[in-house]
Amino acid sequence: MVRSSKYAAGCLLSVRDLSVADVSAVLGLTTRLEAMPKVERAEILAGRRIALLFYESSTRTRTSFELAAKSLGATTTLVSDKSSSIEKGESLKDTGLTLRALGAECIILRHPASGAPFLLARETGLAVLNAGDGMHEHPSQALLDLRTILTRLGLGASRVDADSLRGLTVVITGDILHSRVARSNAMLLPRLGAKVLLCGPEKLLPEDALGLGEGVEIVRDLDAALSRAQVAMMLRIQKERLAGLELDLGDYIARYQLNGERLAARAPKALVMHPGPMIRGLEIAGDVADGPNSAIEEQVSHGLAVRSALLVRANGLGGFESVTV
């Protein structure tokens, strides 16, 4: 999907904005940045102003974007809905125009409304990085998940093509309905050849999810799904978005929790991932989160690296000739 010129080059609003070549370029740049001496890296975005605009709480995403920007030499400013004129009713458009007037060249946005980054990008003309919008997408998370998978499976993390994940099956389990991480991964990984199994109860995983695209399948039984998978991504139940939906947690745990017993029986070698925040004892047992299969902390580290590359790209650097946005 190639977006029109109403969005600045360097925007990352959806994984659908990225061609496979773009994904490969982001991964290549990530590797180059990681290998670069710190002093040299700190010159890349020296003097640039990057705004972090957060309408929702965040630990990993916010911190990693901020640290990434600082490691590249950029000046960052954090604007959150709790301590700004947003509380007084200022619109997203006006907040964006204000940040632009203050010299921001790139805005990293987290917002509870699906699609908000598109609005901000249209209205400001700036490079906007979607750091999670409602139930829609979390594209940088999918890219860091991809890098984690490539690294742990020894597939080479510096470049990809449409067959890089051929033969790989990834099961994403839990609250798919409310998960932007699930959507971004389910739309990205199949384009690199992976099969994505979505697993969860009907209430949290409607059949409409099949519309995410080719290579996506719904499997209701976690044991059956795990038996086919080499990667297991677990998701938190998003209580803040349940909107009256009632769930029997005991039953949910029995059917969908990834615990040591289930993992050993069905997929003893599977890579275990979780985008966080995780609720130990609910969707994932503590011993699995801390166990040898787990890549959860590596995901966080890869987040810092991948987001550095996205910031370089957002600022029009990094030699992106095939930017499709």
Binding site: S14, L92, G115, F118, H136, R183, D208, A209, G211
Partner: protein, 434 residues
């Protein structure tokens, strides 16, 4: 009043069944003659319109528009909204009551219909069915009908409670007017901003189900049946902006059963699907929402097979700052008066080979009949001199920058249209020249 002569046109009048070359004379606000070409030669008229190559039809009628006055004149006024209507070929419109304050009183209705509002075309109004459109106590149907109400509706919201809807249907049946229902079970649509389905899932937006529309339609039809049996009355239910195959099936069935049900379909529901939302384009947000292709196709099929009684725009202007919001926060509604004919001709006439006379009927005689506008929706001697002259073959694209409406919230900016309005005449006055 000055005479107007419309010469050399192809007169299409679905009521008298004329579809032939005719000259038309308008005098004193009425149609004075519809005659063979040349027969009116020598008649002196203040204005002569050469309609060679054009269709001359009864002025279009829209039973569903939001003119935003009183209370929201930054979106639209009666003057600007009816100017847009005239540009779209409409000569009579029915204003919905969800103004601020809600049009639920005789005083409010009189104010709205007062000539001082500057309506360019004939203005009718449907006041609220319940006080404040709150869904509880009925408004004074008798008094409002005496003041000119042509029906009752809480549009924007449904009349949700069974007993309230039942009472509204009974009172309207006694008054001889329809209850016009916005069919949405709002108990099922909280927090929803588009159609439920794969597109909503991909966009991460909560979706309104087909069931939310169909359940109210099915409930209302059941009430009609009960009232006919128990009260010996024959209430008229008009279902607004039907958007789902399931609701349409229920209406089709009810018509076969002989119940008095009519319905309208909006151009956007036969022209677009929920894919038009694209990357959260709030100009494609309205309620009921754009649906899946199967539902869109079912609306077309129902227009073709005659289940649909009329086309209505649900013209719903909103200011730019209101639509420039997060998709979930942006208000529902799009403008539609200037694009209705162009879309109907493109999708139904060209796309489905629907005869021109049928398109004209769906947009004039049929809606005029639903709210019983005597003397309108027809082009025969004695009718009001409400006429639209349009070039049915003209291909053009809509440019929202040129709209007569105060608002520009249309998903059809730049869209292909077929059929261009050249002249609109309302009660003998030329109200639009293209």
């Amino acid at each position: 009043m000055s005479d107007v002569l419309i010469l050399n046109g192809r007169v299409i009048d679905p009521v008298s069944g004329v579809d032939d070359a005719r000259d038309v004379l308008l005098r004193d606000g009425r149609v004075a003659a519809v005659d063979s070409p040349g027969a009116l030669k020598g008649v002196a008229a203040a204005e002569t319109i050469d309609a060679a190559g054009m269709v001359v039809a009864p002025g279009l009628v829209d039973v569903h528009v939001h003119l935003r006055e009183p209370g929201q004149t930054y979106k639209e006024t009666i003057a600007t909204g009816t100017a847009a209507a005239a540009a779209g070929g409409f000569t009579a419109v029915v204003a919905m009551p969800n103004t601020v304050p809600v049009n639920d009183s005789v005083a409010g209705l009189n104010w709205m219909l007062d000539a001082a509002r500057g309506s360019v075309v004939k203005l009718f109004a449907m006041p609220a069915a319940t006080v404040g459109s709150m869904g509880g106590e009925l408004t004074d149907f008798d008094a409002l009908c005496k003041a000119g109400a042509v029906g009752f509706t809480d549009d924007g919201k449904p009349v949700l409670e069974d007993h309230v809807m039942r009472a509204a249907l009974v009172a309207a049946a006694r008054a001889g007017v329809p209850v016009s229902q916005h069919a949405e079970d709002t108990r099922l649509t909280g927090g929803c901003s588009m159609n439920a389905g794969p597109v909503a899932f991909r966009l991460g937006l909560r979706g309104m189900t087909v069931e939310a529309e169909a359940r109210i339609v099915e409930r209302d039809i059941r009430l009609l049946r009960e009232i006919e049996k128990a009260e010996g009355l024959r209430p008229h239910l008009h279902v607004q902006h039907v958007s789902t195959a399931r609701a349409m099936d229920a209406i089709r069935q009810a018509k076969r059963e002989g119940l008095h049900v009519t319905c309208e379909v909006a151009p956007h529901h036969f022209a677009l699907t929920d894919e038009a939302i694209g990357d959260y384009d709030t100009r494609a947000k309205m309620n009921p929402p754009l649906r899946a292709e199967a539902d869109r196709a079912a609306m077309v099929a129902a227009l073709v097979d005659g289940t649909v009684d009329c086309i209505a725009t649900d013209h719903a202007p909103h200011a730019a700052h209101e639509k420039e919001q997060e998709f979930e926060r942006a208000p529902n509604g799009i403008t539609g008066l200037e694009t209705a004919l162009g879309l109907a001709l493109r999708v139904l006439h060209k796309g489905q080979a629907m005869p021109l006379a049928r398109v004209v009927q769906l947009m004039s005689a049929a809606p005029a009949g639903i709210v019983e506008m005597d003397g309108r929706g027809a082009l025969r001697v004695g009718s009001f001199a409400d006429v639209v002259v349009f070039d049915a073959a003209a291909e053009w694209s809509f440019d929202v920058a040129k709209t007569r409406s105060k608002s520009r919230n249309s998903p059809f900016d730049g869209a292909a249209m077929l059929g261009r309005v050249m002249t609109t005449v309302c009660e003998g006055r030329v109200v639009y020249r293209g």
